[in-house]
Symmetry: C2
Subunit: 375 residues, 2 copies
């Protein structure tokens, strides 16, 4: 597999945001620090890194985070895997938004669980459908995996009301909410902030365990993410860890916090991706056929396109790929056996401006030639 000429498919960060000199400098310093090089005794991950992470998170949110509530992981995917291993047993059901982060569906199934979808709405998962599944399947439902802010792939963000109601459902039906916070901090407009993490609506029950990652912000090859649970859950979460983590890599995050670089990096990324997002939305507005619908999330990495019923994304893909433009066919992001073929996910993060705009133009030209009945 390689990149296409106009790759709007890959949800990868932009290389211009990588602070190569700063990271090289930090790495050279850490190579002289024994505790960053050796194995870490504490299976929650390097204690110093967790202290810095907690201190920084406490500047970003209302609910206090304790270092003992945090676990270092090798990114969001291993974090979610670890939470699933902690929260489920063989034969259980894991609920996901439908659609969801396409890569994770089969990974969650590795836990010998059945994965079922909950329809996604503009203000978050359809909680009536979720409750129906809880009534139908009872205790077999042990986890709900969700991406509540700038959702991948739809771009939708849960309202505060839905976050609160979801926690109440988790308490009522006794399941874990595995919250993927990957895009939580990647808003483009300071006057349009997303609601707080779902974890912040649950200070007591322990029903919400949040996963996060620094790979998209700092360096994809960093492989540092985190789990935020409750202190009482720490031993159980540690026991579910198999992806051993690197103190060296997590101390890079710690150093960026200590050196007061993290917030600047975040601000730069928000501005940078906000500009890319605007470019893509403008290119869509200027070039898309009038029947094309899309979500404008104002944060995250992706724009979600909906085709009219007479088209399939499979046919569109064949036509755009021939012109060098690729996207994620939306059906890949739906739970098996329930995959409508009317959706396309395009990413504005990775490409240079000219490739991004030209890719959207070519895609729109192709779409305009597709056989759609007027009106």
């Amino acid at each position: 597999m390689t990149y296409s000429e106009y790759d709007l498919r890959s949800g990868y960060p932009h290389m211009d945001l990588i602070q190569r000199d700063l990271l090289t400098n930090i790495m050279a310093d850490l190579m002289q620090r024994d505790v960053a090089l050796q194995y870490t005794f504490d299976r929650a991950g390097d204690p110093w890194s967790r202290e810095q992470l907690a201190a920084w998170m406490n500047t970003q949110q209302e609910t206090p985070v304790l270092p003992d509530e945090l676990h270092i992981t090798a990114g969001a995917i291993p974090a979610i895997d670890q939470i699933a291993r902690y929260s489920t047993k063989a034969g259980d059901i894991i609920l996901v938004e439908n659609p969801t982060f396409y890569y994770l569906i089969s990974k969650l199934e590795l836990n010998h669980c059945e994965v079922m979808g909950v329809p996604m709405e503009a203000d978050g998962a359809d909680l009536n459908a979720l409750e129906d599944l809880c009534r139908q399947h009872g205790e077999r439902i042990s986890m709900f995996y969700c991406i509540p802010t700038y959702h991948n792939p739809t771009g939708y963000t849960y309202s505060a009301e839905k976050r609160r109601a979801l926690v109440e459902l988790a308490e009522k039906y006794n399941f874990t909410i595995c919250e993927d916070s990957t895009y939580q901090m990647l808003y483009f407009d300071e006057n349009d902030l997303p609601p707080p993490l779902i974890r912040e609506f649950d200070t007591e029950s322990g029903r919400v365990i949040t996963a996060g990652s620094f790979n998209k912000l700092i360096l994809p090859a960093l492989r540092v993410g985190w789990i935020w649970g409750k202190t009482e859950q720490a031993e159980g979460i540690k026991a579910a860890k198999t992806a051993v983590t690197s103190a060296f890599m997590s101390q890079i995050v710690g150093e960026l916090i200590v050196r007061d670089e993290m917030n600047q990096m975040l601000d730069t990324a928000r501005k940078f991706y906000g500009d890319k997002y605007s470019l893509m939305v403008d290119a869509l507005r200027a070039n898309a056929p009038e029947w094309l619908q899309w979500v404008e999330p104002n944060g995250g990495y992706f724009i979600w396109l909906t085709l009219p019923e007479e088209l399939t994304a499979t046919d569109v893909y064949a036509a755009t790929e021939a012109e060098g433009v690729t996207f994620l066919p939306g059906r890949n992001a739906f739970v098996r056996g329930d995959a409508p073929d009317r959706y396309m996910r395009i990413c504005f993060a990775m490409q240079p401006d000219d490739v991004l705009v030209r890719g959207v133009e070519i895609m729109c030209d192709v779409l305009k030639k597709m056989p759609v009945t007027a009106g």
Copy 2:
């Protein structure tokens, strides 16, 4: 948890072997190489790193390795977890040597499998006992995890005959051999090499999948290991991967190979640990009570001690810990419910020479005061 004054417990590498300047230099170079920084398309891991790894492995062994047979992992533990996820289903049985690498027992159980022990003998696992278990449990047995060279914790090495016979058993009873090669290259005497990897006795059946790691050799915080399977297994093994790996870290290994540093590092480590091993054996010979028995493995990290029946390692631990000396109580390394308390694992890798020798002396002084009937 912290280190004790005379920590003979931790199976960690020695910090003096870390080539700080060389690694700092390589990292600075890689920070200018985009493909080392970005996500890796190929879920087997960075293709360039796998090519270098295959080229180097082909200088170390008889059986040719293809890059497409290799998968980059975040170390041996995630590799073994990935192999287990590929090879087992819920309710299966995973066999392990008894004793085995203590940390892995509960990790293998995370796959919703039952873990059963096969007694360990001086020339490898008791294959009669293993075949009895196969006859008794049939197809439920889907994997045998083993450390055939300088076994952790016993130090035993499988004979070539047992390696061959084990592959025949795996073919006959249809299970995967998950071979942990962590210590395979860490021999101390060029005239006393271990037999080849079990993987080399199985060029056709695909019954053997080998895991290895560079963390103990290059840098514990590196988090780079590998899986060596067959090309036909590659898609299945990739599908079982959740611990996303870092192209940056795996390209450090690639650079050490390209710069022709790997073999020198290995030679240095063999000499270094061989000297530490000799120091520990000499200290045991000079100070141990005559009733203490131990294995002299001539490779690896550990010496395995056997106490007389009238003592327990639990009592010995309490007494040595009071003097600042800790070791791994052997029973931790046995499968649950079947854990004799007569064994101690001590490690010669991590400590400076003086701490190593003084630790053994103190331990032996404590042992001599234990209530053992003469003769």
